[in-house]
Symmetry: D2
Subunit: 458 residues, 4 copies
């Protein structure tokens, strides 16, 4: 089956060089990256977290970028049938398909970190600033930064594989946020990444408000495992998890964390690292942890863990609300006013948080190898913010070992990652991970979860 797909959105035109760079016959592996991200988008809405299995079903899938008199079109060979209604591609999928094209082309044709650094050494600009500018450029190029409106983007973090009660709760929170005109930004996949978007769509519908934004931020290494859900109206592909996390906190005006697994723990530790960083002590980025009555235990687990490991004071950086979607929405709304005032006073953009200081330790790409994992400093001989940063890396590695292709290959080859550190830290980590397993928050596709890590005290 061959489908020809017309462009949507802004990338209606592509240059010769851009088209050729994505060709199956081009040198380099850009085509594979492009093909796989596109295939993930075509599997929108399919529930999975086994990317390998999903992709293996469509080995004969191919995608070609063709230029024509109207600009460009895509040729899909053997695409998944679920992407179509009566032979017509579903528009949200079509649109996300062109977002993939846009971002892959941008990735391939703009200056990278090194090139940017080279071109501006004479200025007094740090590597951190360059990276932040890169994130800004990608988001701006994707039109994901809107200058016209007040701080309005609520980042929702949480698991892709939650139970129905949690899904419905997140839907309700999204509904209340949507009723109040807020935009939703998630990691783009199923579960908690979908529910608040769906709720917000409906809340907006009751307000006859068609301007709702449902932003999904993803990265090539995870998109196949977590195909974008069909609510996503703006899909952006960042380079890797570090750029993705930075994009969340720069673009988001408030953060709501729902129940999840190690990925959610990584996200919480990322934002806590930032909040524990001294230079951010005046920054405003509201953080709410919320879930239904039935999930209260989850938040107790998480709360206990971060208090035990990072100190009790860390608790002042977040607020836990159980079983009260209206209160969550009202609190977000209230705190967005503070965010707005703060940014106005500091002349910081409403739509992109320039002033937040993100330590290099969060920006540097952490590759989940056995050596890197083993070398992580999980001791108390460092500032709490640095310990949080290292714990973030630990969870990042666990996520990679669980669902990212490269990480899973490492585990298959060399056995579980080894993590070591101070006894109380390791014990707490152990408790947290065991609770996650008990609560079935880790990788549901396997019959029984075989951990991809080993913990040792040192």
């Amino acid at each position: 089956m061959i489908s020809v797909i017309q462009p949507t959105g802004t990338l209606a035109l592509i240059s010769q060089i851009e088209a050729e760079s994505l060709s199956r016959f081009s040198q380099g592996d850009l085509y594979d990256l492009y093909r796989n991200c596109s295939l993930a988008v075509l599997n929108s809405g399919v529930k999975t977290d086994n990317s390998e299995k999903l992709l293996s079903q469509f080995e004969d899938f191919e995608i070609n970028v063709l230029r024509n008199e109207r600009g460009l079109k895509l040729e899909l060979i053997n695409p998944p049938k679920t992407a179509f209604v009566d032979e017509q591609i579903i528009y949200s999928i079509q649109n996300n398909l062109f977002s993939v094209l846009r971002d892959i082309v941008h990735l391939a044709t703009t200056k990278n970190e090194t090139e940017m650094l080279a071109s501006i050494t004479h200025e007094n600009i740090s590597i951190g600033e360059i990276r932040t500018n890169q994130i800004f450029n990608i988001l701006r190029h994707a039109k994901a930064i809107k200058s016209g409106s007040d701080p309005n983007v609520v980042v929702c973090w949480g698991g892709h594989a939650v139970n129905e009660i949690e899904y419905n709760y997140a839907y309700e929170v999204g509904f209340q946020l949507g009723l109040r005109g807020m935009d939703i930004c998630t990691g783009c996949g199923p579960g908690i990444m979908e529910a608040p978007m769906k709720g917000a769509i409906f809340g907006r519908a009751m307000q006859h408000d068609t301007n709702g934004r449902y932003i999904g931020l993803t990265e090539p290494s995870i998109i196949a495992a977590e195909p974008p859900n069909p609510m996503v109206s703006e899909l952006v592909i960042m380079h890797d998890i570090e750029k993705r996390l930075e994009a969340f906190v720069r673009i988001g005006s408030a953060i709501v964390i729902f129940p999840g697994g190690p990925g959610t723990a990584e996200e919480l530790l990322y934002i806590l690292t930032i909040k524990l960083t001294k230079s951010n002590r005046h920054e405003q980025l509201p953080l709410i942890l919320t879930g239904p009555k039935e999930s209260e235990e989850y938040f107790t687990t998480l709360d206990t863990f971060v208090r035990n490991v990072l100190g009790n004071e860390v608790a002042r950086y977040y607020r836990i609300i159980i079983a009260d979607p209206i209160k969550v929405a009202q609190l977000v709304k209230e705190s967005l006013k503070i965010v707005k005032d703060h940014r106005t006073i500091n002349s910081d953009a409403y739509c992109f948080n320039w002033s937040l200081n993100i330590p290099n330790e969060l920006q540097d790409h952490f590759e989940a190898t056995h050596a890197n994992m083993a070398a992580l400093n999980l001791h108390h001989d460092q500032a709490p913010s640095m310990l949080a940063a290292n714990l973030r890396r630990a969870f990042s590695g666990i996520v990679a070992g669980n669902v990212k292709e490269a990480g899973m290959r490492e585990i298959a080859k060399h056995g579980p990652f080894k993590l070591s550190g101070d006894k109380d830290i390791i014990d707490n980590l152990d408790k947290l991970l065991r609770d996650f397993i008990k609560q079935k928050r880790i990788l549901l596709s396997q019959k029984e979860y075989v951990p991809c890590y080993e913990l040792t005290t040192q």
Copy 2:
């Protein structure tokens, strides 16, 4: 509590005379009509079918139309709190509030049937044509007739008090219709009047299609018992049930009937009367009866009744599809192509079915009094179309006795309506109504249903 509401939509301006005609202090009872319809809208989404009880909760509610420098505004005194989010009125409710104003003003200031007849006696125009023109005028004035698009409006009929399985099924059908870009028109209340709209909203959202129309047609005498659901984006108030039913079949391009009670039976008999009318034998108005597996019995009941009473041939006018939303949607889509061709050939408007012949018996207003009910001819000594028309009136009376204020007063005063006719007809009617009661399809608000009718053979 006093709320001031700004106008939405097209009625941003009102003349002195219009404003005064709606004033609480004006002579006439237009204010009461206006107030009650507005109150019903403000109760959007509230589940009820007891209008009296609902209205009695808000006896101190008042509404004032004020003219100001920007045009007009509404002042609401003691409105229901459910219409607001954080003190802000929900937009869909606000919008419907102005639809009420628009239609009540139109009703009050345009020529009525008699005036129109007087002004054009010299022409060769029948009373039926005048009525159809009136319906056209109301709908056009409400901008509910759109000239730009192909036949696209799917009328969904069914009960306001269905069970969850039926609700979800109607949602699924709506989702499939929405995915295919179809507009939904219902009687505007809860239950089946809501579910397909909600489904279509999500179907459209997946297509990033914000043009969906969710048309609710209602009438003053029922709006309080069936408050508009919050999905309705275009609310139109017709004079009475006969004008409302005609509006459905003129504006609709296809009709889907879901499970319901006596109201749904009235609707089925209305459309069957039209289809049995000889001069309509070439007309195209697809009719599908559908429900989940669990509701199959309901359709058997209905199918048996109309076959037994009106003859087996009547079955060729509808198609029953059980438990297959995609098939329903695809069939509607296919048949809309035929509708389009038919109208093109006959130069009939895509958006308003002028050529359908509606017998006077369906257009004449039937008042549900004991005398009128008793006088109904339920015998075989007439054309099947006329028997269907009379059965339509019988069900109309039963609905009135159940949920309309005037009808309920009648019943309270004089006891149940009496219906008589040929034995087989009455027996079949009895069987149908008993099945409805058994299936709990009649008036759920009372502990036990006390029928508002008595059947006798004659």
Copy 3:
């Protein structure tokens, strides 16, 4: 040649009864009215003020309203070729053609003055209010009243047959008004009715502002003599000159008078009558008389006339600005702020001046017959406002005698109208009219102007 024209704007749908009322084969003379107004629109941009001659060129022109599957279309038989570019009708003409249809249908199908009066006798509403409501209804139906914006409509009055210097001056004033975002409303024809619109189009273009409104108000009896110019984006047909004049002052936020002839004098006397009316003493309706250096004499003539006849104090109601377009525009802009404040305080609509009191003497239709003209009271034995009202009628009669079909017939049959009054009034009138003739401001189509009036002192 037969052209089929698709609808523009809002009247995309027409009912059976409406279509039939406009048919060539219908009883009544609505068809002729409709045909002639349509023909005038098709002659847009043609310079003429001899309607008879213009219309006689197109005796075989016919127009048919046809209903079809998309709504309606117009069939034009033998239309003027100037309305087309490469066989395609020019959009502004097409649009105005449908405005004619809209207004003629509205005229034919809504309640007239008598019917309205009948339907609301029980209320405390005067005939004057009913007429104002009618004007509101026509304008609202034509969407010519916009509720969203601040007072912004500048009425430009002046002659249809001015010289190039005056045309260019009015263009410059329009340009400056357009630069400042103001909308233009004129009598829709050529000359001063066109120039400020053209100027404003360019002023708006420099502001990339495509929302400019170019409103043309006309009446059936003059439209053929002054075909709408092609700048008109909103054409509205009022019943007669009195309704048209009222529409100007209700919809306008400020009035600018350029050089003109008797029609312009009628307009000036109309607005002065209103301003001299006691109950309007707090009303705000800025009035500027302006022209190029070369036309200074014209304003001296006019100024002298009204001061002499109505008293010196009348001069405080207007301001004369010579040769300074920027000053005119700035003054209009400044005074619109006062208008806005005034209406805000009085809760009067920005877009329709409800509070202006228009005496019955201005609202009553004045038919230009010899008897009516002779009976005009042009003496000082009345309030200045009433004398102004009678002078308005005198000029109205002169315009009718010059360019309106009915008036011209009267003159041809019975000779010039006779006007008599106090000596000083008649002398001043005589001087004014002679100056007009000297300045070639009366009827240019004839070699030598033969006055349609005789003045006698009495």
Copy 4:
């Protein structure tokens, strides 16, 4: 005087690094370039061709890019007053100001020719293709390439200092093109660069068509001498004259040449070089030379020159139409259909002519130095296309010597450029330039024109 200007269009957001690169305090000379282009835009509509004189009036002008909570704003210190209406900046100027910002930032932050070449050496891509891609990127980034529409952009070339008759003629041609819905692209300055835009605005207005595009392509070295006229709705700044000329022929669907001077001759020779290039023999790019009756001589001069120098056959590449704007517009319209068909068949974009082959000789930047001018090969020992290319360079040099800052400096220092070549070529060139001087088509700001060139036969 300090004005703060809010952004228009798409560049509402700017990164830290971008903002800093434009700062007055940054190293490099980007600020000067940015300041001068901005100043030229602020002088929109001012008639001049002496950039030095114009710029020297505003020596204390400064511009600062400030980032704030809404994105960015510009601070103008001592800007020209003509850019403002009642203290408000004129929108078209404001908009073009942000186009300058957009293009200067793009220039500063994207890969240049060398960087692009470096990043794709492994591919089989020529320097010519890279340059064409660069032009595509600039135009796409400026949103000047629209994928949705048919070939529609008419490039109008001609002088900036024409007489009133020629200006009015170009206005009329523009009016006829506008009536037919065509977009206009010119060099953005006054004279012929303005007139067709103004005409088209008015033609579009008669069609109520607000989608007209008025594209102005300029380059930093000429923008000060030819400030953008206020009709320009899309301003794009290309690197230099070669990129600008390529942009014209890639984006244009047809070319109309009006009377002009050496710049116009350069343009004609540019397009003739392309047409004479063998590989373009099947390309479609209609070329019309047109002017009023009074300018017929100009076209005779030009026609004679190219026939004499390049051979008679060259005449088949253009068509001369005298004094017939409707015919010009109809011919353009007809030939655009052929262009459309041609591109459809060849799958070439309607909005960007990829397939046109532009020889390196036209793409290589020609710097107007005495050495380069003297070295030009103006002999017959080469293909006509190459001779045309060299003549193009000769005229480019003459334009630079006349109005570009760098060129004028050269002339001031070293005296006139020296051009030599075959006798018949030089004689014809001499005749052409003398005719230009006689017709006052060269540099009107000086009392008497002192040529910036000397011709010698060799």
